[in-house]
Each structure stands twice: as structure tokens, then as C-alpha cells.
Amino acid sequence: MTHAYTPGLRLAEKIQIRKSRNLPLPGDVIVKKGDIVKSGDIVAKTNLPGRVHSVNVVNRLAILPGELRKYMLKKEGESVQKDEIIAETRPFIKMFKSICLSPITGNIESISDITGQVLLREPPKPVQVSAYIDGRVVETIEKEGVVIESNATFIQGIFGIGGETTGELQIVVDSPEGIIKPEDLQETHKDKIIVCGSIIGFDAIKKALDIGVKGIVVGGIRDKDVNELLGYDLGVAITGSEDINITLIITEGFGQISMAQKTFDILKHREGSIASINGATQIRAGVVRPEIIIPYNKEYADKASEMIAETEPPRNEESVGISIGDPIRIIRNPNFGKIGKVKTLPSELRTIETEAKARVLEVEFSDGQTAVVPRANVEAIET
């Protein structure tokens, strides 16, 4: 493989971020370019077509499909109420009359004189899209959505479950290695997004759910605890739509792994701010990683954006590669989770323990020890 480095997850204390907020179907955008919005504000809305129900009227009335229209009391497009008669026969003797009732309140979608079925559609369901982050509307796309810009702290996790939520950030451990216990969680954590250390167990997650914690950010979690939380074994890493009343983001991986010091420090620095988080993860084509966005308030934001204008690297640079001296994290056994600096980058292939020939690098840890690691098993730490 010529590409060996996993580009690191993004981690920026101050960055100008843009979020597209799109409708699932064309609808109305209700904010203007330049508007200042809060995370909970509605920026666009639309109506999703209602569910379709079918009634086989010809069977109910014992008639032929070709005769269906003759017996229909309603035409295509007309509205109907639940239990309203939509078709009836007209025999000479009234007691032989058959009727067909509408199973729903809605509209007649179609009448088929081939299959004899009538399709009815429920009224449309309104859908609203919120701003999700505090910021400014910088673009509106007619009928589709908006783009919101904000100066914020931006941290990507490696994996998450649960969708978008917003809450005040609170650190509940002393260090990135800390372990949160159920008894550490109190009523005061209700509606908060809590930052834990190296691992959280199912008992603590359960307590957080009972209290009404909105989100959890943690270094690692055991797979079996995720299973217990979801009630099933997660097969494919496409998440975000779980109905679990809490959003969980892990920053390092499965198992007990201390949160990266820098991630922890940044989160600690922003404690007390309102964070918008989303656990949605998709690791197949079009990678989506979970995110933590903590917008700055306006005055600070204006100052910050100037700073960013100078320091923000171009987007494409992130996967260029790693040089000697760069900080990296090992992302597979052995030494999983350890952080070090690149000491050497031998160009020739080396035989590793499995006997596979791989491109490797030598990493030096803070205690001076070194290890040889396949390049595929490290990720760059974004600085």
C-alpha cells in the first residue's frame, strides 16, 4: 500500500467551521443570509409525504376492477376522514349493499382499475431543521437548506452513537486516565454533556441516562457495554439514528484508553461553554466521524476568527504524510493508544512479527523507549 498514514482526527481549539443544514426533501428556508442563530433555532422546514395505505376495494365490494370507478364515492386527490365511506355498491335490495371505509384520514392517492386497489395517503408530516450550532447564516440554498458559520472549538471522535444534541460541557474526572463511577454522577449533571477519562462502564451510563445527561465524551468503552446500551450487537459502523436518549462519543477506541492529553486539555479549557455534539459515525465510503463543536461567544469569536485566518492550514494538507519528529498515536496492538514521536522512517519494507512485509516507522515514547510499528498502524496527531 502506498498510502500508509491514517489522517489524524481533527482537533482544533479555535477554528472557523461551516455546517450545512439540509432538508431531506425540498421545502422552505426560513432564515436569511447574515442572520445570527442559536443552536435550537429552526432554519428550514418541509413536509414529508404521509404514509400510504392500500385498500383492495374490488375484493371488499366483490366487484370487477374495471367497474371500480363506478362505485367510488371519492375521486383521486379528494380528502377523506377515517371510517368515511369511499366506495359502495348500489344493489336493488339495500340489505345487500357493501361498503368500503377509509382506514385513515388523508387523501385518495390513486384508484387502479387494473388491480382494483385504492391507495390513500396520510397528511404530510412537518419536518424542521435546527441550526445545531450557534453562529451566523452565511449561505442559503433555496428550498434545500443553509450553511452556518461559527468560530468554535472542533474535536472529532473516533466513534459515536446517538444523534445531535446540545448542552453545557462539564468535566467529571480529574485527569484523562480517570474512571467515572455511577456515584460520581449527580442531579446537577442533568442536561449536561459530561467529559470522562479513559473509560465508562454500563452502570455509569445507566445512571447518566436516569439523571438526564445529554451527552458523554470519553476515551474508551467496552464493546459489551455498547451492546448492553443498544440492546443488540452493532454490526456495521453506521450510527447516529439510535433511539437511546443520550449521545456517546469515544475519542480513542474500544477498551480502556486514556483520552489524549490535548483533547482533554482543550475540553477542560472550554468547560462551562455550550457544546453541540453528534455521535453519527460512518466508516464506509464518505467517512463521517462524530464531532464536538463548542462555539465561542460573539466578541471572542470575532477576535478568534482573525487569528484563524492566519493559522488555518489548507484542507488538503492533512494527508500529506508524517515526518521525523512528528507526534503520532499508535492505533493497534501492541502499544495501542500510546503516543510518541517519529524517530526514523526507514524506506525499505520490514518483516514484522506476523511475517508480513510492511512499511514501518520507529517511534520514540516519552520515557525514551522505542518501538517499530507498521505505518498503517499509526495516526498523525493534528497540531
Binding site: I158, D223, G235, N333
Partner: protein, 599 residues
């Protein structure tokens, strides 16, 4: 045109890597000479597939010394060390081709439609049938929610049911589905059902979808006609799906023949090789997200794709489907369940990492066995004869199991198994790949096992559509690595009892004679290019393909691993039981027989 092709460049744009190969005519034969690869650039920040293709070309240029590009243009035709005669490509980037199929009867027209879609290289997201027991509104919701790239609607033999087909069309119309790519375009729908329902289907769907009508894929109960529907799927794949994927318009203008979906091209290659050698073949491609299985038995081609069985993105789903105990049973060491679960999930979230520890490699190989086994089971269930055809049956046949009766996959008649995909092609020792394939496919009788050296079957598949000779020549000389023949029992019996005697006579006259107990396995030296005569005399209750107690004598060709005599019985039984050795010891013995792992 055929005679002018001396230098061919081919790419396969996969979801993570774009692989380019150079094929050149050297003297009278075609050989694959160089290869280059580069990350695929369909996703942001590049969003242009041609960037990755150009990068892969650049690597080819560097390695071969041939100038292929003039700026961003491919130089044609080839003259000396400059240019190529044709550029061809396949693609599975952006999730490949995702389809939904519908038919009147689940096991008849709907199944034929599913086969047509799979054969064209699609992932089938769902099969909707009039008799699939879902309520109409559930079907409509499902069609609306899935957002496929296209829908294939069939149903009714010509002159058969009209109302069921029109009903399905009405469901599709009511769902008003939107394509996955391009929010404003109409969803392509192919109608390949009862020709007498065409007008009515058209009336229901022509305003709501981009409707194409083609020949009925099941014109009579006794006959499938999948060709026209497959062709239409591939046309629409180019017109609608590819045209909306980033950079593909430009890529399509570069290629000499239409771009094919990757699995469709691999299928072409499998069929070409089965036809040329007149053999039955099973092929498998185990990727990170999906596992494709192809088979050609008595010239009938089938392909299935297990969309969520793979070695990285989908690795966790293998565990979800088979259960962790089925993975652990393949491991010759103890491991804590929490630990192995965490390791597997970490591979899922960081799919590009490779095993560094031997223990991790063995875990991945255990998972691969189960992924391959499950994918092959799914294949056997779909590769079946036509249902609805009247057959004469003996009374004794009534009692045989239905699945066995109907599948076209007869392991005893299988000549060749070809494996490809990282875990098989890049296994540190070839014997590991051979073991994984024998354990999961469980061949019976005499079967040759091979791997695709660098995954060039897709490239050769497209090439076979324009120059079959070149494609099959390169396939045999450069693509396949023969691991060796496997001679296996077809049944089982009492564990530890003597089940067969064997005599191996090498071409230099050397002979090896011995016997094996049930549960044993031996590997003999028989190098590539060498031949040997193998005589197997099974004990009275055992069968090696010719019937219980019947001797077989076969001449077999060697491979890089050697000749395997597998007396473990079929189905392979990995239970621990009374009078048996502990499973870990048994596994270690098998591993040692293959010299599969370092001590």
C-alpha cells in the same frame, strides 16, 4: 481492433484504492508487466475520481519507464516506449451499484430479477415480491426509505399475470423514490416483466421515474433470459449512476470501452475461464466491506454479494452474524471474550490498520473463515435451479433436504476455487490462504485451490469483453497463483477410525504410501509445474467422491503449498468430545501440517 492491442492500461477504481496495471504483448503472448496504485479520490477533499487514476498512472510510468500521459491526456496509440493502445476501467467506488428488485413471486420472477441484478454487479438492497408477506404500506415505506441507484421490476411470464405486476408498479409510483445520487433526477426503473403489462406499467411509472423497458427476464417458467436486463442495468449504471459520481464523466471519455461495475467484470472473467477450460469454478473476493461469491457450474453463472461480510468496515458484522463462539473455536489459544470483542471493534473503526502481532493475525484469519463460510452459504442458497418448473421425482428424492436438492453448487464436481481479497492474497504465508479456503469452503473430492495474486480479475474481466485471448492468457500466467490440489472426504464417520489409504506416485517414480485416521490432515510436497498420481482407497464407510469404499485414481498438478489430503470429514466438525483431543491441540496439529504459522 483485436490485432492492434499491444499495450493495454487498465484500472479498477475501488472504494479505497485505484489499482492500475499494464498489460503488454511480448512476442506472441500477453503478460501483465507493471502495476501502480493510489488512493481513490471520489470523496472530499478531491471529489474527482480521475485524480486517483492519474496518480496510479504516474506510478506506472515511474516503474515501467513508459510515458502514458501527456499532461492529463492519455497518449494513444502506443509507439515504442510511449503511449498505450487502449485504456479500460472498472469501478466500485462510492459504494458500487445499489439496487432494489421487485417481482411477482418471491421464488420465481423476483429471484430471477435478483440474479440479473447481482450478475450485473449490483448490491441488492431488498427484494420486494407480491407474496413476501409484507403489507402494502410496509413495501411502499421500504421502497421510499432505501434510496437505491435503480429499481428492476419484473413479474409474470409473457402472457401471465398482469395485475400483480401493475400492483408492484403502483407501489413504486406511490413511494416516489429518489435516487441516492443527484437529488433532482428521476430514479431509473427497468421493467423486465410480462410484455403484456408493459403499457400499463408505463402508464403508472413513466411520469414519476426514468422508465426503461426491456425483454422479460422470465418469459416462461422454464426459461430465464437475464442478458437484456443485465445489459440495461449496466447501461443505466453508466448513464445515471456513474454520470453523477464526481469525475466520472471525464473518466468515461478516456476509456476505450464502457466502464463496468467491478463485480460484473470479475464475473465475466470467471465465465471466460470456466468456458475455456470446461471446468466448474467458484471464486470469492473478500473485501473490507463486502464479500462476493461467483460460481460457474455446467456453464451456469451465478454471483452473490454478502453486503455486510468483510474484513474491516464489516468485520464486526461477521461476529454479529456468526456469534463470537464461532470465531473463538478457530483459535488455538485462550482469549478473553471482552478483549477479542474490543480488538474487533477497533479494527472496524480503524479499518486500514494491519495485524502486527501473530495473535492478531490468527484472529483475523479466524474471522475470515467465518465470513467466507457465511458468504458461501448465502451463495448456495441463491445459486439454485429455476423454481416453478415441473420435474419428475423418485420417491426416495422426496426425503432429501430441499436446500441440497436445489442448489447448483455440487462440491463434488467443483474443479477450481479462486480466492482474492487482502486477507487471502496478502496472507504472509500462502499456506494460510489455502487453509482458510479449505476450512470455509470444505471442498469434496479433488479440487484445485488458487489465489488471485494482486487482484487483477476486474481488469481482466473488462479486457475479456474485447480480447478474450489476452485476458485468459494473463489470467493463467500472471493472475493466478496455484496453491495446490486438495483431496477430501465427502462424508464423515467415527472420529479417530481409519478412513483411507493413499499412494502418491511422483513423476520421478518416488512413492509415498500410508493411511489416515478421520480427523487427520496431511500436506505433501508437490511444486508448481509438477505432477503426481494420487490413489486413494477409502475404508468401507468412507467416500472420496466416487461412492463409499470406492477407490479414486487421479493425476494432479502441484502448487506453491503442495498436495493436501484432508481426512477431517465433511461437514467439518470442530467439536470437543469424549475420546477426542482438546480442540486447541487439534488446531495446532493442522496448522503444523500446513506449516502455516511461525513457531
Amino acid at each position: 481492433m483485436k490485432n492492434e492491442l499491444n499495450v493495454i492500461v487498465a484500472t479498477d477504481c475501488g472504494s479505497t484504492t485505484t489499482k492500475a496495471i499494464l498489460i503488454e504483448k511480448k512476442g506472441n503472448e500477453y503478460r501483465q508487466t507493471f502495476r501502480g496504485e493510489s488512493p481513490t479520490t471520489v470523496e472530499s477533499p478531491f471529489e474527482d475520481v480521475t485524480r486517483g487514476v492519474l496518480n496510479a498512472f504516474a506510478e506506472l510510468e515511474e516503474l515501467s519507464g513508459r510515458k502514458i500521459l501527456d499532461g492529463e491526456k492519455i497518449i494513444t496509440p502506443a509507439e515504442g516506449d510511449t503511449g498505450v493502445d487502449i485504456y479500460i476501467s472498472t469501478s466500485s467506488a462510492g459504494g458500487g451499484l445499489q439496487m432494489m428488485v421487485a417481482g411477482a413471486v418471491k421464488t420465481m420472477s423476483a429471484q430471477s430479477a435478483q440474479k440479473a441484478a447481482l450478475g450485473a454487479g449490483a448490491i441488492v438492497m431488498d427484494v420486494i415480491a407480491s407474496n413476501d408477506k409484507r403489507l402494502p404500506h410496509e413495501k411502499i415505506e421500504r421502497i421510499r426509505d432505501l434510496r437505491p441507484d435503480m429499481i428492476l421490476l419484473s413479474g409474470g411470464t409473457d402472457g401471465g399475470t398482469v395485475s400483480h405486476v401493475v400492483e408492484l408498479a403502483e407501489f413504486i409510483g406511490a413511494a416516489n423514490p429518489r435516487p441516492r445520487l443527484g437529488m433532482t433526477f428521476q430514479l431509473p426503473v427497468i421493467y423486465a416483466g410480462n410484455k403484456e403489462a408493459r403499457e400499463r406499467v408505463s402508464a403508472v411509472l413513466k411520469d414519476k421515474t426514468a422508465l426503461k423497458i426491456t425483454d422479460n427476464l422470465r418469459p416462461t417458467l422454464e426459461r430465464e433470459n437475464l442478458g437484456p436486463a443485465r445489459q440495461e442495468i449496466q447501461n443505466l449504471f453508466l448513464e445515471h449512476v456513474m454520470a453523477h459520481a464526481p469525475g466520472y464523466k471525464k473518466l468515461m471519455s478516456w476509456t476505450g470501452v464502457p466502464i463496468m461495475p467491478t463485480p460484473g467484470a470479475v464475473g465475466e472473467m470467471m465465465q471466460a475461464i470456466a468456458k475455456k477450460e470446461n471446468i466448474n469454478v467458484v471464486g470469492v473476493d473478500i473485501g473490507g466491506a463486502t464479500t462476493d461469491v461467483f460460481s460457474v457450474f455446467d456453464q451456469i453463472f451465478n454471483r452473490t454479494v454478502s453486503a455486510n461480510l468483510g474484513m474491516s468496515y464489516s468485520i464486526s458484522n461477521v461476529i454479529a452474524e456468526t456469534g463470537i463462539e464461532n470465531i473463538v473455536k478457530w483459535l488455538p489459544f485462550d482469549i478473553d471474550e471482552t478483549d477479542i470483542r474490543n480488538r474487533i471493534k477497533n479494527k472496524m473503526i480503524r479499518p486500514t490498520t494491519i495485524p502486527q502481532l501473530l495473535e492478531d493475525l490468527k484472529i483475523e484469519h479466524a474471522i475470515a473463515r467465518e465470513a467466507l463460510r457465511l458468504a458461501f452459504e448465502q451463495h448456495k442458497a441463491l445459486a439454485v435451479g429455476l423454481k416453478g418448473v415441473q420435474k419428475q421425482r423418485e420417491i426416495s428424492e422426496t426425503f432429501e433436504r430441499v436446500a441440497e436438492e436445489e442448489t447448483l453448487i455440487d462440491m463434488n464436481k467443483l474443479n477450481l476455487i479462486v480466492g482474492s481479497g487482502g486477507v487471502l492474497s496478502h496472507a504472509p504465508r500462502r499456506s494460510q490462504a489455502m487453509m482458510m479456503m479449505i476450512d470455509s469452503f470444505q471442498p469434496q473430492g479433488v479440487t484445485m485451490i488458487a489465489v488471485d495474486s494482486i487482484f487483477m480479475m476486474p481488469h481482466l474481466g473488462v479486457l475479456s469483453t474485447i480480447n478474450e485471448t489476452a485476458a485468459t492468457e494473463v489470467f493463467e500466467k500472471d493472475c493466478l497463483i496455484y496453491l495446490g490440489p486438495c483431496v477430501s472426504l465427502t462424508n464423515t464417520g467415527k472420529h479417530g477410525s481409519k478412513c483411507l489409504d493413499y499412494i502418491i506416485t511422483y513423476s520421478n517414480g518416488n512413492k509415498i504410501e500410508d493411511s489416515l485416521l478421520l480427523g487427520e490432515l496431511r500436506v505433501f510436497d508437490l511444486k508448481e509445474g509438477e505432477k503426481a498420481k494420487v490413489e486413494i482407497i477409502p475404508a468401507r464407510k468412507f467416500d472420496v467422491g466416487e461412492g463409499k469404499g470406492r477407490k479414486i485414481v487421479k493425476e494432479v498438478a502441484g502448487g506453491v503449498v503442495g498436495l493436501v489430503i484432508d481426512a477431517r470429514g465433511r461437514p467439518l466438525d470442530l467439536k470437543e468430545g469424549k475420546g477426542r483431543e482438546p480442540l486447541a491441540e487439534v488446531l495446532s496439529k493442522w496448522n503444523m501440517a500446513f506449516d502455516a504459522y511461525p513457531e
